[in-house]
């Protein structure tokens, strides 16, 4: 059986688990998490350097061979997202960008319209754009038109760890959208990541569930395995399942014969 490779943004990835670097009690754990999870893509944010205190640098704990996926967190409009993306690229760590445009502080739900606008601008500038959006078919279609490299629908609002609340909508995206679908946000347990992959998602992005686990490294390992298991189940092709018994009166009796 040939290797299952996830091709995206010019890369050939073996792991379909993307990880994040936010919310860690101790950033140094990130190194162990990256190894345990097998993840090859990792998100970071862009912030002002703190002039008053000397803090550690998260980059010290990210394995050098991982693909960096900076996000535009903090952006409330397309223009702000574009500005952050350009700054992130100027750091010299590649041209991948996760577009996150949020002006809702209560639920942290993304603004699909502004995200699509930012996607179009940045795709034209040669960025590999991974937009984070609600699981909406029309928004996803506009992202396809705008030149995104994938669509990243949320499973549940950021940080809630509530699992695939948008499951049916994500399923529609998997069926209808030609771009890779990467479920991002809300995945709280390895079983939920497995579920997403079993449905046919191309990858999962998990941050909070790993960073805030009692043992992040063990949790990272579990997530790595869960994503693999889900993917293999999807590729294996589930067997026949009867959704309901054949009941009631026959509808084809009029045909007669055997």
């Amino acid at each position: 059986m040939s290797e299952d490779i996830f091709e995206i943004g010019g890369l050939k990835l073996e792991s379909r688990l993307f990880t994040g670097t936010g919310k860690y009690a101790d950033d140094s754990v990130i190194a162990g998490v990256s190894e345990a999870s097998g993840s090859q893509v990792i998100t970071v944010a862009l912030r002002r350097v703190d002039l008053d205190s000397k803090t550690g640098n998260v980059m010290d704990f990210i394995p050098k061979d991982m693909q960096l996926l900076p996000n535009t967190s903090g952006a409330r409009t397309a223009d702000e997202a574009v500005r952050i993306a350009r700054l992130a690229r100027a750091m010299g760590c590649g041209d991948w960008i996760k577009i996150e445009v949020i002006s809702d502080n209560k639920y942290l739900l993304p603004d699909g319209y502004e995200t699509a606008k930012a996607t179009e601008i940045l795709a034209k500038e040669g960025f590999v754009v991974l937009p984070y959006v609600n699981a909406d078919l029309y928004v996803a279609r506009s992202l396809v038109d705008a030149g995104a490299a994938a669509v990243m629908p949320l499973g549940a609002p950021i940080g809630t760890n509530r699992g695939l609340k948008t499951k049916e909508m994500v399923r529609i995206l998997i069926d209808e959208i030609a771009l890779p679908i990467i479920v991002d946000a809300g995945i709280g347990r390895p079983s939920e990541a497995c579920e997403a992959m079993e449905m046919g998602a191309d990858a999962c992005l998990v941050n909070t569930a790993i960073a805030t686990a009692s043992d992040p490294i063990m949790m990272a390992k579990a997530f790595g395995r869960a994503v693999k298991a889900g993917r293999e189940a999807y590729l294996a092709g589930p067997g026949a399942m009867k959704s309901h018994a054949v009941a009631s009166s026959p509808l084809t009796g009029f045909l007669g014969g055997d």
Partner: protein, 375 residues
Amino acid sequence: MSFYPICAEYGAAPLSERFAATTEDDVRRALGKAVLDPDDFLALISPAATPYLEEMAQQGSQLTMQNFGRTIQLFTPLYLSNYCSNHCVYCGFNAKNDIPRSQLEPAQLEEEARTIAATGLKHLLILTGESRGKASPDYLDSCMTVLRKYFPSVSIEIYAMEQDEYARLVDSGVDGLTIYQETYDEELYATLHPRGPKKDFRYRLDAPERGCKAGMRVVNIGALLGLGDWRTDALITGMHAAYLQNLYPEVDVSVSLPRMRPHAGEFQPTSIVEDRDMVQIMLALRLFLPRLGITVSTRESGQFRENILPLGVTKMSAGVSTAVGGHSQDGDKIGQFDISDERSVDEMCTALRKLGYQPVFKDWEPITEPSEGAA
């Protein structure tokens, strides 16, 4: 984009082998899924699915109920003109057939329209033969000026046109396009259409897509089952519908299932499509494309049409004449094909209601005024 490369790929593949290689496991797997892919559809069209018709029917009828309710939309065809320069070997209007040819003048059209409107029908399908000279775009435009006074919804089933010509018709009030590929087997198609503009397989194949781009709200396709291998034509029809639905999600895509019947010529069908084959095709389409419209015309008998009501049909014709001026006039009885269900609109409605279905006369009303006259 075009459906042609996909169609050609299916044509090149040994479909008979694929049908023969399909197992009951493949069929069962397809029946267990909520969303079917093209391979599942093929399994349901294959001979291996024949023992599973009842199960397909249970699922199909459930899906139809969920998506369409217990309603059937009614319409009738109005033949404007039977002048035709094509030599389709299977058709009653074949240019070689010596039959009276005519085209409705405005006054006759008005009478025909009035007669039909009096039955309560609001969805009309207008048809012509292949004649750009006689049934020209200008003529059609002038017909629409008359017809939109009586019918909120008019579809066309005419010779294949350019996109801007379809757009012009949309502007004049047409909302639906019906055009059948007859058979998706390109080699066979060539033998069936030896002369005339319809000879161009690809131009016709791409016509539904031009209609979608031109703004048609409903696009209805199909193959004349029995001309070629019915399984192959049914399969590619489904793939054509899926192609249009995926590329033009705003269009209401539907499929007709005309089955070869006797006509005023000598051509006989190459494959026989039994009733159970029709049922299998309809159910496979319903399971593969849950929101696909499915039309069954009066080529089929009244009894058969009633039996298949729960199995996925969404549109039916009633009070039909396939002759030019046939609704209002007595002369000129040569129709395009013979009708098996001759019931009037009232009779159809009574029958439908008795079986627990609501006949729908009007699905929508245009709220924008069509443009006046030619573009």
